[in-house]
Amino acid sequence: MLRVQKGDEIAFEQLMNRHTNAVHSYIFRMCQNVQIAEELVQETFLRVWAKSKLWIPNKAKFSTWMYQIARNLCIDHYKKQRAQFVDDVDFDRIADDSLRRDEILILTLQKAIQTLPERQKTAFVLCQVEGWSQAEVAELLDSSVDAVESLLSRARRKLREILGSTQQHQ
């Protein structure tokens, strides 16, 4: 990163090779849209390049700083285009299409995750799926580990409730 700060494009390419997939996973899981995710990943790295001199090594880990940029872009996108959860999934139509039970639940889960508030979703995606520790997520969210635990708890409860009612509906 220190080389990137000096305008070294080869170092920047190496940095992208190392982080693109992880950043893309996070952004895609936050917005659930292939095209938008790719645009936001591009924008994240362009900002990393343009603002690289603002990163102060002793102040924050590079990955935390980069994810903060990615997260801010997701929040901006989220504000522009509030994720809409189709509250009542058309179960009859889905049943007609003879999808299996798992597929219906996966579809419902996808939509339910999209309805979570941004902080809950970030905590859930990073801790539950990406394997971050609660301390790392706390640093990203500028929060405490207890607060992250609480965010995770609320997210899991909401998903459990939605999935529970879907299973009953079936």
Binding site: W49, R157, R160
Partner: protein, 139 residues
């Protein structure tokens, strides 16, 4: 332990009991799940959801994002923020800190017209208006 407490714990720590920080609590939960059919059902449900999550959040491979970014960075300038940091730390922040002090000083040091008027009125009545002065006397 009851079913409500188990639900709260599973929401808090997830269904992977090996990841739970408190070993004693984990053992309590394991024995509760073994004893109670209701607890076992709830635990199975949470495990099932946890297994579905990676499938629900499946991520496709990004297509050529790196090449697209590399094509654009030649046109993106890397501004030098050092001057901005210096200006911000040594000029802007002290000025911003001074503003409330200056406003307070101006408000505090200015003449208060209401007080002056009342003082003037009292002074005039008591000591300068001879009619009032005579009216106040016993004679």
């Amino acid at each position: 332990m009851n079913i409500q407490e188990l639900g709260n714990l599973l929401d808090r720590h997830g269904s992977d009991l090996n990841q739970w920080p408190d070993q004693q609590l984990r053992q309590q939960v394991q024995s509760y799940i073994a004893e109670s059919a209701e607890a076992h059902e709830l635990f199975s449900q949470v495990q099932y959801i946890d297994r579905l999550v990676p499938k629900a959040l499946f991520v496709p491979q990004p297509t050529n994002v790196e090449a697209k970014v590399l094509n654009q960075i030649s046109t993106v300038r890397q501004p030098n923020y050092n001057w901005y940091r210096h200006v911000s730390n040594w000029v802007l922040k002290p000025i911003l800190a001074m503003i409330p002090l200056v406003i307070g000083f101006i408000l505090g040091s200015g003449p208060n017209q209401d007080v002056l008027l009342v003082e003037e009125e009292l002074t005039t009545e008591r000591f300068e208006d001879p009619v009032n002065y005579l009216a106040m006397s016993d004679d």
